[in-house]
Symmetry: C2
Amino acid sequence: MAELRRDPIVGRWVIVDTDHPTKPEDFEREEHSYRAGDCPFCYGNEGLTPPEIEAIRDPSTHPNTPGWQVRTIANKFPALQIEGEIERHGLGLYDMSNGIGAHEIIIQTPYHHKELADLEDYEVENTIKMYCRRMTDLSRDSRFKYIMLFKNHGPSAGASLEHPHTQLIALPMIPKNVQEELEGAFEYFEYRERCVFCDMLRQELQEKERVIFENKYFLAFCPYVSRFAFEVWITPKKHQDAFCQMNQEQIQELAKILKAVLARVNEVLFRPAYNFIIYTSPLNVEHKEGYHWHIEIMPKLTRVAGFEWGTGFYIVPTPPELAAKYLKG
Amino acid sequence: MAELRRDPIVGRWVIVDTDHPTKPEDFEREEHSYRAGDCPFCYGNEGLTPPEIEAIRDPSTHPNTPGWQVRTIANKFPALQIEGEIERHGLGLYDMSNGIGAHEIIIQTPYHHKELADLEDYEVENTIKMYCRRMTDLSRDSRFKYIMLFKNHGPSAGASLEHPHTQLIALPMIPKNVQEELEGAFEYFEYRERCVFCDMLRQELQEKERVIFENKYFLAFCPYVSRFAFEVWITPKKHQDAFCQMNQEQIQELAKILKAVLARVNEVLFRPAYNFIIYTSPLNVEHKEGYHWHIEIMPKLTRVAGFEWGTGFYIVPTPPELAAKYLKG
């Protein structure tokens, strides 16, 4: 019989197919195909993108020329616009706001075909450093309440350009699912005076069954209430609210574990499309206790879509315990 | 500049690209491809499926033989199992339940290549009648709290068999997104003593901009806070809690409007993959006022996935006002 499992943070139930679990080789492969054309993220094409906001580059080179290792630019087709004041109003029953926000692209490497898992440790570190820098910079803007960093890798995960990159969106409001996690974590904390994420980590470390990798500062595991087959979370082992609070040593360790997880995902699942999202505490709003930043990695292995979107009800073909067995180094 | 819009029921914000809206011809077409093999849902292959639970058929024919027009069977690979008692327990921090539930398939027509929009009116009516019958039958089972009826049409919308069919899942709990809609609608009702859906309908009927079709009992419109390009809702114009409360005349009108919407979607969007979900009141739980059943239709036009799934934050490439302009008859 299948199992129904309930997420302790937001209360979501999922169906886990423990009877006939889907193994890595059972998923249908989707063809990778991209729009053709010259890549604007490659060396020499810096003029094809909006001017660079910030880069980690050879100090003898100039902005908007080759010589960079990580490069941040504004999105050429931004979902939101950086200039202007936030204006909100009602429209009968409905609420709306003008589309103020930031939408940046962090190009992780000049190499068109090297994704995060293929980079050297120090290159992954520089990418994470850039994530922190951009978050810190934008958090000074009092119009913003949340900064989302996420990666779409592969066309079926929503990437339209092949060259490895990460997106950043700064928002004047907190996205709904983040708000729910914040509230769920806060409710748990209020009653118990303990962080729900810390409790989860403690249990995962005891049970070991779903743990994939562990180092001094981080744990990578397949969550008990995964929504997707081979979903992986990376979480700091010691309580930490916000991604930007990491020190240099933690950044190094995060680079190592992130690279290790993505390399295993590639190996076991035949280089699938995937998304990852960095969940961190909101900005410029009253601090709610009990939130703990983490990264959620979701390989894109099935096509099921509208039903899950519509209901928030997930059918998980591979139990996380089995996924962890495959992903363990 | 884009617009940020907030859903009045669950409080979800979405970004609507009002500046550079995507038109029907701009979406990339996904190839339709299905698993090969003899179709178990066609006439003559009744023996390849689990035995029929109920059918609308020529009275001179026998169960599990040709002669039916709509046929309900148990899913051969059910996500949940019908036999047994519900057992719930804790697992440290986590909650789980055994996988009790019903998972049925409603085969809408014996014609392999005719989808809902291609059927005669009376055939669509019979399909809707069958939806009601199955819901009514399963609602007598006190183990179940919610019955979901949904359709995955096309492989990229999650369908694995081409032959037109609808799925039914009866659950021992209410799915999270439905729970949120129930609570949002109840909160709205508590303060105003009015149904939020009725208020929405009134506003849409006044503004007319997002209305696609209207008949005696139903309204079809693109919701102001659409999450997907060309999303359409069909709602009874007079307040009604549950799908099964429809009378014969309403079923006839629903068949007409559902067929009309799907035919327009096919025409305008080049027969896309789509999902629809019927949202209705839960069973066997305390009744919460202010809920209003409706159908949400979501054409599958973009591939963006994990990000929206993960954050509950949607970027909508086609404003609903423009979508309605295309879909209007």
